[in-house]
């Protein structure tokens, strides 16, 4: 029978190494730390004049995107290219699936072209699990966002950003603000922060944007931005989509910004050295004031840069080619 937590039998191989990266939930801390350590080493690669390493030479990676994305798709593409892999970008609005081909048929056809990895974004929660269940033995699946379920590489780039700026996680209070209900990013961040031992994970939103029983994922719930920000070391703002006004979740953008928008005044309630983060794309004046987004505490653009390093780390680890992965696995067998 299936139950939460057994996804690792799908995500990890017999030696406990990453095979697919579908969700942060249930992964051991050792794997998350490996990803961050490996990503640290790739940050340097991006800063060199020649930004390439030959780890995935000869491998073919398919970016299979069923939802539009600019940032995530391009950073995955850059990450694959910096690892010397060949990259195929498939945008579904112009492909066979738009003509009614099933996800499984699309996957099997692309596998028949001897591809090695799928980076998939899909509007349905669980889509990457579905692909992993049906993947050929040599093929790895990396989840680039499935429905409202998970966006594990985004969460890991956020963790890298936090670790590079704050060091250890254990004393940190992290506040996630906004549309938690529809956010796969928030779900993955919550799992990652708890696994890495963050001191406190807070979610801040009106009740209409909070999923039921969100406390059960290990969060403390606030409906007041002011109270929730008090003492926070990291403030993560989420994007608010305009459709939320139509579905009776919020009265107006104006009222939302008044109550939950991050302004300099509100930010002053957090710790003076609090980081401001956002997975992007940002809606200036809706969830965040420009002066904060562009201000000294904002690390929003750093997140984008670190996104490439994290995606390089995940891809190389899932393909068994990470510089440090084997040694680490050998050191700490589980």
């Amino acid at each position: 029978m299936n139950f939460p937590g057994n996804w690792n039998t799908m995500q990890l191989d017999a030696q406990g190494r990453l095979r697919h990266f579908l969700t942060v939930e249930g992964l051991p801390r050792r794997i998350l730390t490996d990803i961050l350590d490996t990503a640290d080493s790739f940050v340097v690669v991006g800063e060199q004049p020649v930004k390439k390493v030959p780890l995935l030479r000869g491998k073919t990676i398919v970016n299979l995107f069923f939802e539009t994305s600019t940032r995530t798709r391009t950073t995955f593409e850059l990450a694959a290219k910096r690892l010397s892999a060949d990259v195929l970008n498939i945008n579904v609005s112009t492909s066979a699936t738009a003509k009614g081909e099933s996800l499984l048929d699309t996957q099997k056809n692309l596998e028949a072209m001897h591809t090695d990895m799928f980076v998939v974004r899909h509007q349905h929660s669980g889509a990457s699990h579905f692909m992993a269940q049906h993947a050929a033995p040599h093929v790895s699946i990396v989840n680039a966002g499935d429905g409202q379920h998970a966006h594990p590489t985004q969460a890991m780039l956020d963790m890298l950003t936090i670790r590079r700026h704050k060091g250890a996680f254990d004393s940190l209070c992290v506040a996630i603000v906004g549309d938690i209900l529809h956010s796969r990013v928030a779900r993955s961040q919550i799992h990652a922060l708890n696994t890495l031992g963050a001191g406190e994970v807070r979610v801040i939103a009106p009740r209409t944007l909070l999923p039921v029983d969100i406390e059960s994922l290990g969060t403390r719930v606030f409906t007041s931005l002011g109270q929730g920000l008090a003492g926070a070391d990291v403030v993560i703002m989420l994007r608010l989509q305009k459709e939320r006004m139509q579905s009776a979740l919020l009265p107006s953008e104006h009222e939302y910004f008044q109550r939950y928008g991050l302004t300099e005044e509100k930010l002053a309630l957090a710790r003076p050295d609090a980081l401001v983060m956002h997975p992007g794309p940002i809606n200036r004046g809706v969830e965040i004031a420009s002066s904060v987004a562009d201000g000294p505490q904002s690390v929003i653009l750093r997140q984008v840069s670190y996104g490439i390093a994290v995606r390089m780390a995940v891809m190389s680890m899932a393909m068994g080619r990470s510089p440090g992965a084997r040694e680490t696995a050998a050191k700490e067998p589980e």
Binding site: P4, S125, Q148, H149, L217
Partner: protein, 426 residues
């Protein structure tokens, strides 16, 4: 006509309170005696049932046979064959075929096909509103004249309360029972599973408990106003059981059923994104499951049904919310019900009553009993036979079951419909 003797079986018939080793005698399609043979009875066929259980054929309040309109999923011939292999001798089809059973012609078509190819009795519910669109009344009197045993909107919403009220009144005019599967037209309409901690974790849009109970409350008030006889289909929440119990205690003529999978599975089973667990109403909490079991035990819920919904393989071969809901369940109705006895949820007589006389009373038909004089619809069960479910071995065209690999005890060896042997385990 055939004279049949079923010898030495353990006859269990909750409706006539028989529970012991007896011979059973059939002539001209009817049960003529239980115990002593009638004078001069000479059987043409003898079935030895020592060590086996003999009980009324099962009556299933809801089975989609997919015909007409969805023959790529199943046909009346394939599904009635599956039914009798599971001891089910009567099935009732909801009206959401294609075309909808909202005219006598479609009801007649189903009846004709069932007679031609069917092994089990096939009853139909007529539509409550034309096209199940919830706007204009269907020709209920004509549907009744064509043999429809009740009317239903098959879980499709009737948004306009005035239309619902008039539909109930009109059905009451002709003494028709209205079958209501309650789902609010807005609450949780975009959902795929129970709204709770598991949906939060999986990021699957949720269907709150109130999706069922808000509509149930509206229906109860209009039933009270109109005095119609009503049946609530597929209860899924503890609160619904309470509401139906209260209504019955106040004297309302309402009954209720539950799908057998709701008595075994919960929201936790969805946690692996397996589309076989995608059902409507959704699998809910352990507390709901236990309340439903108690509702069955206490007689608030007087029928357990299969809610059979066979699908072609492709319908379940996609991520969870890209799949169609439903389980191919005719062949697991009896095994799942017997398993509840093994698990101590209730005793054997209660279990069998809920799949035989209970649903037959709701439908207002004479079957579901072994009382002498009634139609010989019955089955013989080898209750010690242990087996493991292999979806590939199902006779239904739909192999969509979440019970793959489950171990069951008890297997049908013979099924008789109107005294005719329609299934024998080889």
């Amino acid at each position: 006509m055939n004279r049949i003797a079923i010898r030495n079986g353990h006859v269990v018939d909750p409706s006539s309170r028989v529970d012991g080793v007896r011979d059973l005698f059939i002539a001209s399609g009817r049960i003529v005696a239980v115990g002593e043979a009638p004078d001069g009875f000479t059987p043409e066929i003898e079935i030895e049932a020592a060590g086996r259980m003999v009980c009324p054929g099962l009556v299933d309040l809801s089975a989609r046979l997919r015909e007409p309109g969805h023959e790529q999923k199943a046909t009346i011939a394939s599904e009635t064959r599956a039914a009798v292999s599971g001891g089910v001798t009567t099935v009732c089809c909801p009206p959401d075929t294609s075309p909808v059973i909202d005219t006598p012609a479609v009801a007649e078509l189903v009846r004709h096909r069932a007679k031609q190819s069917g092994r089990a009795w096939v009853l139909t519910l007529g539509a409550l509103t034309q096209g199940l669109e919830g706007e204009q009344l269907a020709e209920m009197a004509a549907l009744k004249a064509e043999g429809c045993v009740g009317v239903s909107n098959a879980g499709r919403p009737i948004r306009n309360s005035e239309v619902l009220r008039r539909a109930l009144e009109y059905a009451a005019t002709y003494g028709l029972t209205v079958y209501l599967q309650t789902r609010d037209p807005w609450l949780g309409q975009s959902g795929f599973m129970h709204e709770g901690s598991v949906s939060t974790r999986l990021g699957l849009p949720g269907i709150p408990e109130t999706s069922e109970t808000v509509e149930l409350a509206r229906c109860l008030l209009l039933i009270e106003q109109t005095g119609v006889r009503a049946h609530f289909c597929r209860l899924s929440t503890a609160r619904s059981v309470e509401m139906v119990a209260d209504a019955r205690a106040r004297g309302l003529r309402v009954t209720a059923d539950v799908a057998d999978h709701q008595l075994h599975l919960t929201e936790m089973d969805v946690a692996g994104f397996d589309p076989m667990f995608h059902v409507i109403p959704p699998l809910r909490t352990l507390r709901d499951r236990d309340a439903l079991r108690a509702g069955v035990a206490e007689g608030v819920i007087t029928a357990i049904c299969s809610d059979h919904q066979p699908h072609e393989p492709e319908a379940k071969l996609a991520p969870f919310n890209g799949t169609l809901p439903g389980i191919s369940a005719l062949e697991t109705l009896l095994p799942l019900t017997l398993r509840l006895v093994d698990e101590g949820a209730f005793d054997l007589n209660t279990a069998l009553a809920r799949v035989t006389r209970g649903p037959a009373e709701i439908l207002g038909i004479e079957t579901g009993t072994l009382t002498p004089g009634t139609r010989a619809d019955l089955c013989v069960i080898d209750s010690g036979h242990a087996w493991r479910l292999d979806p590939g071995a199902l006779l239904s065209h739909g192999r969509n079951t979440p019970f793959r690999g489950w171990e069951f005890r008890g297997r049908v060896t013979h099924t008789l419909v109107q005294g005719r042997l329609v299934y024998e385990l080889r």
